[in-house]
Symmetry: C2
Subunit: 702 residues, 2 copies
């Protein structure tokens, strides 16, 4: 999406004028609802109902045709009439139209053709179309309820305008989520539904939201995730982002395909990209809202070390379990001074190690939790606190909320609250927690997972572990990452050519050279110390060994025969140093295309690579920190560390190799595959034993 | 626990008389609360407050000492006085005492000693003690609030007596969970807190609850799980059981140890045992309650095939994702007749494949969902339905609830509801759903996970996949599984002895025999076809190869030398058929002790076994179905199926082997280890190449 268009999308929540094309005064008709809602929620701009028959809608005079420029048009006419309406919008200068009508790609082949026509027409007419098949957008600060969602017909809709921007591909599920956010007191700035995403995606809407000074955090629900560059730009804004990507399973992807023609991306790539870019991944609607609440904390974790302070031992154990499970947080080790101070505070039947359990004694000693918390938040080894309590009631809860809020503000550290108790025990608690800026959850595990998401989205800001290509937080939106150096595709993509290129990038490959005839092969073997491997170099021959194209253990005596055998395959003949080692590990380092861009994967190698399924991936380009994390994520990392008395292998060299491959391939035309397999990791260094490059095959237009 | 004691525990929720020892009239004192609560909630039995100073408590005269038999004593005196009180209880014939006092094992070494004294005294006095360090128990049908939990001080406690029994090791967290259950309208029969579990565990309490005719389903929270036999007995009752086991992670286990001295069990064993026994595993409090709601459905799934019917495409995708993730449910394939009927019902822009999306058109056509559901529930290929809707309001929701409830009842199939919308949209919905017997959840994934738990706990009843040793559902409680044949421990536990034993149980081992001298070795090799392996048989020598105790590829010519070399290690000499195969897979089949009993593990073998971490476990004894599942759970199952053009290997023979090992080891004294490693899986048959047995080492008393 062009940045001009991103700018245009502001009108989805802050338009000065809105036309509702297809408006009607008929009670309960969908075409009446946006007008009714805009009036009810105090929208301050101009509303222009359009109905060929004229008349009035909710007391407003209806135009028979749109004849004036408005900031935003809501299009609610039958599918067959939409293209004409969009053309008309273009003629009078409407920059953005929300196409609410159904009957496009979701309705089969004819609908798909209609959707293509809609996109083409909109482009020609200069209209940015949102949808089709969507239910509109809402600005909670402006009262701009440009939607027919029945949510806004509810009798007592809580009004909690806030600073969280929300974009959703699904309308019904999205506004259901909005209703739950309002119920939980999560302050929303806006909600945008993108429907079929013919031109504007969830990520586009989120980019526009991120540009708003009044938006501090972003939540999104999407079924289609195919724009790695947009993800990077979003991450680069420094505003915390949580995404729920539906269609994560095979079965789900199938449903996604039939629902919106969504392009499935593999779950591993999504996971890797989110981790790499500092995007929190929600696995369910609950968790998306849990993250929204986490983003409302005024304090950021400066590290992953979490202290748990609880009035219930059980809650402490559940919190500790969850911390371990995240893989991104750690249970803080308290300073001996902290423990010693806690020993004077916590009853003998409590616990002063982390998790700290002040016990139900808090019922009779209301300041107990405050005293313990005050000590814990001041520990320099504690980056964040999760505090848990259960069935406390009324005043007891309010006292705790005050104490917790004050401790968090004084220390400037986030304190997340797990209150495992019904609302009826302390009806004022939810509101009090919200006012105190304390994210609150019904279970310790949910508090911990939300904190893990907050930490992941804060890491770049905290200055640790951010991916190199992502600019620091606070960089202006829509500014792309700094342009890459941009290497051309490899000129020579045969094995010797690739190995030469790798060597240019500081990667160790076996010594060797092409041999021109049997005698030259004898000479080459001698140059390599009398012990070599002889390999065929034949364009397109990937499985050399099976074809008899590799002869190992060649000496000067056998070199002539080996040359003759391998040369029979019709290509050049490579003579290489024979790399042998008592201790080594075979890995694969490869690059392949994905819907989010080129992805580098490192995996435990050998013939069982796919069965072992011990792999870690990242989007390219990646940083050395990314490469370090990738290697650590392998189960096989234990083998690198020196397994069962074997010497440790050169993990640093493997990390160097991964980083070098990332740098080397920057700028190569997208869609290629590169396979370094096997790569031998040795006690000192690595050797790339084989390398293959497959350029992108041109794709027919979709 | 003896069955007599289990019987005694009924008084935890249904006692005719209760003494409160340490009762006081002082306002807000803990010692006043049980008396106050018993009166407030209409407990119909006799209440005997006991206070050395006499006087009254809540208007009831207090005895200065307990002089009469009561069904249940609540002990609320300081820790140091508890032992005397328990002695007194024994003297007057009190069968069960809840020790609420703190200051026992959770308070360090002195407390631990005091707890041991308490247990010994109670045993001598014939009193069954619950706790110490607990907050009591509640019978919701009897109004027996024998607890000081502040929950029962809440102003407007919802009263939802029901048929779900709940036992919890943690008091505060447990009664917090109870409050959430009441809020959600989950009908509880009772709640029992077991605290330090000096004598009565969560599982003991659950067994007693399972014996109640008025209890239909069981929920438990535990930090200590060390009684595999009790788990089996619970599973055998046929009443659905969900357990939340805290302390699942390493960090969590550490916290568990410091909190209650809990014995950690490894997460994999717990997972395996639950799956094997048909126990639903909750991973969080939310999920435990979700399962409680699932158990309230009057209809049981008869299979794993789920249809999704939704008004929102997004919800359908999330449901499909979740079905895939459970690994225990499948997305049903609808009958062509069903799809064809749906084509006439669902709008063109909806979807008639599973997930079925009737779209938001349900807003204008209120009977649309009913018509679609009616067709789907009647499909014989559908065992259960998850139906999803979002922001529908008021009457719309009530119409849907009626339609869904009627469809479920007519077809006799469970329909779980995911309503992703705030309560304020349809305030009557929760109650209406509950009355219609429809389990309801805020997100599609939670509905699916709860349904998966319902299916797991119903499988035994459905007659598929139940573990052989578990009697059919409905068997009387506390009756143990049928006694096992009971083999003695192996007489000869050296390699030839174990292999002979395996052969007796139909397991294929290499042909072979002991050789008595070099000449005999030559003869033996000849008998085996002239190609053999020669192995040392030395007691205690496990790593034979490293010690030079294995010589492979031995022929008649080399047999004499091989014998001499191996015999040098000082033991007997085994000559065995050399098993070679072009295609084969090495696996490990082993048995080891766990806190839940002996556990059999099958794992991908070779030197990397621990790094690959590709293993599946089950409690012994196990059924052939269990063994089949175990093999299917391995990632390496792909290798058995014939990987990359290799012939398939004999999976059935591997399953036979696992089943045979289970049968062979029934009755062996607990605590042993048995290692069959490697086991070679061949295209036809398996061969156990090596076998070792390590008997239990006697443990010092804990």
């Amino acid at each position: 999406m062009r940045s001009q268009e991103t700018h245009d999308l502001r009108v989805l929540w802050d338009a000065r004028s809105i036309a509702v094309i297809g408006a009607t005064d008929r009670p309960r008709a969908l075409g009446r609802l946006p007008v009714e809602f805009l009036l009810r929620y105090g929208y301050g701009g101009r509303i222009v109902p359009v109905n060929p028959k004229g008349g009035t809608v909710c007391g407003l005079p209806a135009a028979t045709e749109l004849t004036e420029r408005v900031d935003l048009a809501l299009v609610m006419v039958p599918a067959a009439a939409v293209v004409d309406v969009v053309r008309r919008c273009g003629r009078v200068g409407v920059p953005v139209a929300i196409i609410m009508s159904s009957g496009f790609v979701e309705a089969g082949d004819d609908g798909a053709a209609l959707q293509r026509e809609l996109v083409d027409t909109a482009r020609e007419a200069g209209v940015c179309v949102v949808g089709p098949n969507c239910i509109g957008s809402v600005g909670f600060r402006t009262g701009q309820t440009a939607t027919f969602s029945p949510l806004f017909g509810a009798a007592d809709l809580p009004r909690v305008p806030g600073r969280v921007g929300f974009a959703t591909q699904s309308g019904a599920l999205g506004f259901g989520t909005v209703s739950l956010a309002l119920e939980r007191g999560i302050g929303l700035h806006s909600a945008v539904n993108t429907g079929n995403e013919a031109a504007v995606s969830t990520l586009d809407a989120l980019e526009a939201l991120a540009a708003e000074p009044e938006v501090d955090a972003l939540l999104g629900y999407t079924e289609t995730l195919a724009d790695g560059a947009a993800l990077r730009r979003l991450a680069a804004t420094g505003k915390p982002l949580a995404l729920l990507k539906a269609g994560s399973s095979d079965a789900g992807s199938k449903a996604a395909a039939s629902h919106t023609g969504a392009l499935a991306t593999s779950d591993r790539v999504v996971d890797a990209a989110f981790r790499q870019l500092g995007i929190a991944r929600a696995r369910d609607i609950d968790e998306l809202l849990d993250l929204g609440a986490a983003f409302s904390s005024p304090h950021l974790p400066r590290g992953p070390r979490v202290a748990v302070v609880t009035t219930s031992g059980g809650s402490g154990i559940l919190a500790a379990d969850a911390i371990e499970t995240t893989g991104e947080l750690t249970l803080a080790t308290l300073d001996p001074a902290t423990t010693s101070a806690l020993n004077a505070i916590v009853p003998a039947f409590g616990a002063t190690a982390n998790p700290v359990d002040v016990t139900a004694a808090v019922m009779s000693d209301r300041e107990l939790l405050r005293r313990a918390l005050d000590v814990v938040v001041d520990d320099d080894g504690v980056d964040a606190v999760v505090t848990c309590f259960c069935v406390l009631t009324g005043d007891q809860v309010m006292d705790i909320v005050t104490a917790v809020g004050e401790a968090a503000d004084r220390a400037g550290k986030p304190v997340f609250v797990a209150r495992t108790g019904a609302d009826f025990l302390a009806p004022e608690a939810t509101e009090a927690l919200r006012k105190a800026g304390l994210p609150a959850y019904p279970t310790p595990a949910r508090a911990v997972r939300a904190l893990a998401g907050r930490w992941r989205t804060a890491r770049a800001t905290a200055g640790t572990g951010a991916s190199a290509p992502v600019p620091a937080a606070g960089t202006a939106l829509v500014e792309a990452p700094p342009p890459s150096p941009g290497n051309p595709a490899p000129q020579r993509s045969d094995e010797p050519g690739l190995k030469a290129l790798l060597a240019d990038h500081g990667v160790a490959v076996p010594a060797g050279r092409l041999a021109h005839d049997p005698d030259d092969a004898v000479a080459a073997v001698a140059e390599l110390g009398g012990h070599a491997v002889v390999k065929a170099v034949v364009p397109g021959l990937i499985h050399k060994s099976e074809a008899g194209g590799v002869v190992g253990g060649v000496t000067a005596e056998t070199a002539r025969n080996a040359y003759t055998k391998v040369a029979r395959l019709g290509g050049a003949v490579l003579v290489e140093e024979m790399v042998t080692a008592e201790h080594s590990l075979e890995v694969l380092v490869g690059v392949a295309a994905s819907p989010l861009g080129q992805v580098l994967t490192v995996a435990l190698g050998g013939v069982l690579t796919e069965v072992l399924d011990d792999a870690s991936s990242r989007l390219l380009p990646l940083s050395r920190e990314d490469a370090t994390e990738m290697v650590a994520e392998l189960r096989g990392a234990r083998l690198l560390a020196g397994y069962r008395g074997a010497p440790p292998l050169d993990t640093a060299a493997l990390i160097d190799l991964i980083t070098a491959v990332s740098e080397m391939t920057i700028g190569w035309p997208d869609g290629f595959e590169l396979d370094l397999n096997p790569v031998l990791v040795l006690p000192r260094g690595v050797r790339v034993l084989d390398a293959a490059y497959i350029p992108a095959t041109p794709q027919p237009d979709r």
